[in-house]
Symmetry: D2
Subunit: 341 residues, 4 copies
């Protein structure tokens, strides 16, 4: 079946598999303390324009979020995010399992708005009983968001300003970072993100790697003993070089950027294919996730021939369908989509 | 440099890499709900003679231990193990981070002894204040142990009997399971382990896989909602099929067994090479880890030419050196070792 | 200043102080294993018509909630409540610190509605990705609620039916239980609560005791080793008899009931006093908390002479003021209130 | 029965009860933000010669230990103590429930020795794999220790020096502080403790109060938002003034000191009574706990007439019996002990 369910359905870009193959029987020092990891970290810091920063490779996104949040927050602190944030909706309570409350504020198109945040924090500190509640210690944003939308530089700077005013850290989940960086809808660059955030991760799993996320602390000494925290949270890979090899490949010769661009090009064509056949967009999305309105009848018919996700339900008659392209989507697949539709 | 530091220095057996390659661009359902995972789980349950059991694939050992222990224990319970157990010494407090005390009892050659356990539990319940202490809820054993020693069927049955008497679960960490199963020093089989343990894991990372551990609950419904617990602990791989493919390969045509046998054959030859040159064994070890006594002078000389681990120190003059073979160790490497020595 | 801020401003009913005095130098067995505790527990179980139940005395409400919820839930489970529930708003993330997500549903007048709960759970299990989110394991209700409203027997039975249908436990926070039981607005009795709930607590701190809450598990063996869990959570009082003495006094000769009745009588008079002077009720409240609308000017004037809580803000011009009576409120205090107003 | 089981068997010193009575119906601000608490805190800081410090009142010892340790440690850190330390042996895994490993080092007479600590830390950092284990972040000592022994100023200074060298915090559990301060066997004063420790608590429960412990952070801003952490851990008493009143009384006119002295005077007489009758001391103890060797026959006979604790067993024939005096022990009770023996 022709599938557009998700961007983590394929393995890795062939260049990455080749690098894994090539190093397969080299005897490598464990736990990311090998030379390939070191090289990959340098390339990432260079791309982020954060020479004093620190990079750690973790296996998955929930793991990265939970480990970083646990490492940076004190027990009395909570993390604030849009109510659609992955940590609030789909990470099985991982943040709470680490002891912290997640406070979901109403989002706008999947994004957290600086004004909403500001108003919330003003109200929070205006309440004389605030000391009986967890103290907001971190803002969590996803870029791209869970619905494929993007922060602009201005928006993230506005959020940062609120964070500074109220003493919160800013953390950015970049599970689909490649698709955000490649979009013309946002001017936010990796160096911007590194300048504005206290921590963020650059997603590999959904962006061309077999698996893996690169957590970046752009400032020196921002998170002491993170290695031990990773180990404690089950997030330290014995064969850390597997992650190093992948990120080294992704950050060599602009591969990460090109993979993002492919997905976006294909997403635009997919969007056009649907629109040309009279389907309705549910919402504009500038990245690799496209959302369409399907009637129940359309849904029944399409779901027999196509793989996609029922993202939600509008009313008894209509659903929201999510179609996702990726670094690996080909024009042949879209040709077939045209035939199927 | 010729290295025998560890059994997680290489990547994966070529058959596994081939399978990854072959499936790389197939679009696979996420989170281990694909057909390859299903097939691999069936092969593992068959090998364990546990048709009603449940298998879950996790990425690493600390992660597997912490997730299973958290999932099976209640807040008031502690886990009991030999004082050399990995969860007590080298997992960065992962079990405690999940809220549980680890109680280390004096081990014998790295193994927990049923009599020691029995005496401890008798004394525990004899203390009228025991309710002020965490209640022992699980026994943790490693097979092979951290120093390469093995439980026999009789020993594990004796431990199980104590567990039953005092109401404890039995959990076995099989990070190096292949090397235990291949050893003639123990008659313990996978079906024995499945019969005696409430949970255990079959190690992939150190036994031929790129990464991955297969957690087995041999009894039906032993651990409800473990999927959600995995997700919460950052232990659920989006591309679960990566793990399925590897374990499917390992449990096809007896590959897992053959990989274990290779390591043991090479370990015996390595041992012979050292003994033939007058080195002293620190302790007999029936698996793929070999321990020798080195004088400081020997250590200085050897460490320039060979990779190995200083496992401990006997006195001011002598250290314990650990040399490890693996599924990937070749006779050429041992030939070279002979030359170096 | 004449104060109606709260119902925990005074110490204890004189009968309780007398009992403390009387036993002060008796040498008592520690940790609640004394005869007075045993007697008090029997009286409470008799009042609950729950002869097989178990009672434990804890010091405070947040402590009771966090300890019970931790003890009863498994790591993958969340607790569901009205969004105004104390555990969600004012317990400093205690439930999350124990590892569990709190899911706040829209409340009606401070109460959780069975239909709202039912719809939420139906939607929850209808979502094919629900296994990626914490599984609802418990419903939390407060009776009286945080705004003084009450469940009727019918309402609590309806919630219980939903709990049974979806496999959730039902837990009731009775911090102000005396004021609920004394109200004619609800027909819910202690035996009803014991029949419907898996756990609940009968509040002492706000209902005539110096401090203390009686946690009741009405069914046998509902929560093994709760003693050890209490100890672990810092909720086990060395001099447990201090709690036993107080609850024994409260449950002797109907004192607990009479204290509740006094507060309600005084609350009705307080309400009448305000209404007679033209103040507006914010909402009807059938228990000891009364809510009035004050203009900013009224608020400025009153707050100089009276102690009360600004419970919220309606708009730029008006606030909600909370006045609370208690077991200790006297007619003399209300006479003075009349003079002040 | 004449009982010497413990020092928490009686209620409170009459002066404390009188103060509670006197304030019983005063309407007091909640959560320790009343004037009596403020006054009590000032008296304690004056007694500690720590004018910039911070005091918080908690209800019990396990609660105080767990809350302070959680508040001060980061997730990757462990707490180091003598293997007889209460947090390691009798607090139901409260520290682990907060996520931290407890590392018990061999104690000497119940005390942690600076040399033992130093050697442990030197070895710890000498191990190249130390980053795979929890990082020691705090030293925990009890003064008096669990067996009634005492640190001298010199000993605590030596421990502090090691802490400074390796970057650990120093925390002191003073559950029986009054009995340590009153002993001539140690020159350690409250100002010494405040100078050397990052946090400590002054015990009330066992030293004349109904209940309560005063946690002191002698340095400014040592533990931000501890109020919220207390609330989160169920350690914030609504009627905080109950604790303030008690500590205010204890730190007025030297009452705390006098209560300690009474217990020690009575302990010396109790010791003499036993020795005069030919009983053998198990160990010298300079505070209010006295340990004797009893044969099984003696134990059988005495336990019918006297309350005490079987603290341990020497061999099949002999046990260790603990007899405890307190602030409330009278000469009449010891006269009766003489008659009974």
């Amino acid at each position: 079946m022709l599938r557009f369910d998700s961007d983590y359905m394929e393995g890795a870009h062939p260049a990455i598999l080749a690098r894994l193959d090539e190093n397969n029987l080299c005897k490598m020092t464990g736990y990311g303390e090998d030379e390939i990891c070191t090289a990959a970290k340098e390339k990432i810091l260079a791309a982020c324009d954060a020479p004093d920063g620190e990079v750690h490779f973790l296996v998955g996104g929930t793991q990265a979020n939970a480990t970083v949040i646990t490492a940076l927050l004190r027990p009395y602190q909570a993390v604030v995010c849009a109510d659609s944030a992955h940590i609030h909706t789909h990470e099985a309570g991982a943040v709470e399992a680490g002891g912290h409350k997640v406070i979901g504020l109403p989002g706008k198109d999947g994004l957290l708005d600086a004004d909403t945040l500001d108003a919330y924090l003003a109200r929070f500190y205006d309440d004389p009983t605030y000391m009986h509640t967890p103290i907001p210690g971190m803002v969590f944003v996803s870029h791209p968001s869970e619905t494929g939308t993007l922060y602009t530089r201005e928006k993230l700077e506005a959020i940062k300003a609120v964070c500074v005013r109220y003493g919160l850290l800013l953390y950015l989940d970049g599970a689909r970072m490649a698709y955000g960086l490649a979009s013309e809808a946002s001017d936010l660059t990796l160096p911007d993100i590194a300048r504005l955030c206290d921590a963020f991760y650059i997603g590999g799993t959904k962006c061309g790697a077999l698996f893996g996320e690169a957590v970046v602390f752009p400032k020196k000494d921002a998170c002491p003993h993170f290695f031990t925290t990773m180990k404690q949270r089950g997030a330290l890979l014995a064969k850390g070089w597997l992650l190093g090899v992948q990120f080294d490949a992704l950050f060599t010769d602009g591969l990460y950027g090109r993979l993002g661009e492919n997905a976006l090009r294909k997403a635009r064509r997919l969007r056009d294919i649907f629109l040309a056949r009279g389907y309705t967009l549910y919402a504009e999305s500038p990245t690799n996730q496209q959302f369409f309105v399907l009637t129940n009848a359309q849904h029944r018919a399409l779901s027999e021939k196509l793989g996609y996700v029922q993202f939600g339900r509008i009313d008894d008659e209509r659903i929201i369908a999510r179609f996702v392209t990726s670094w690996a989507t080909t024009d042949e697949q879209l040709d077939e989509l045209e035939r199927v539709l």
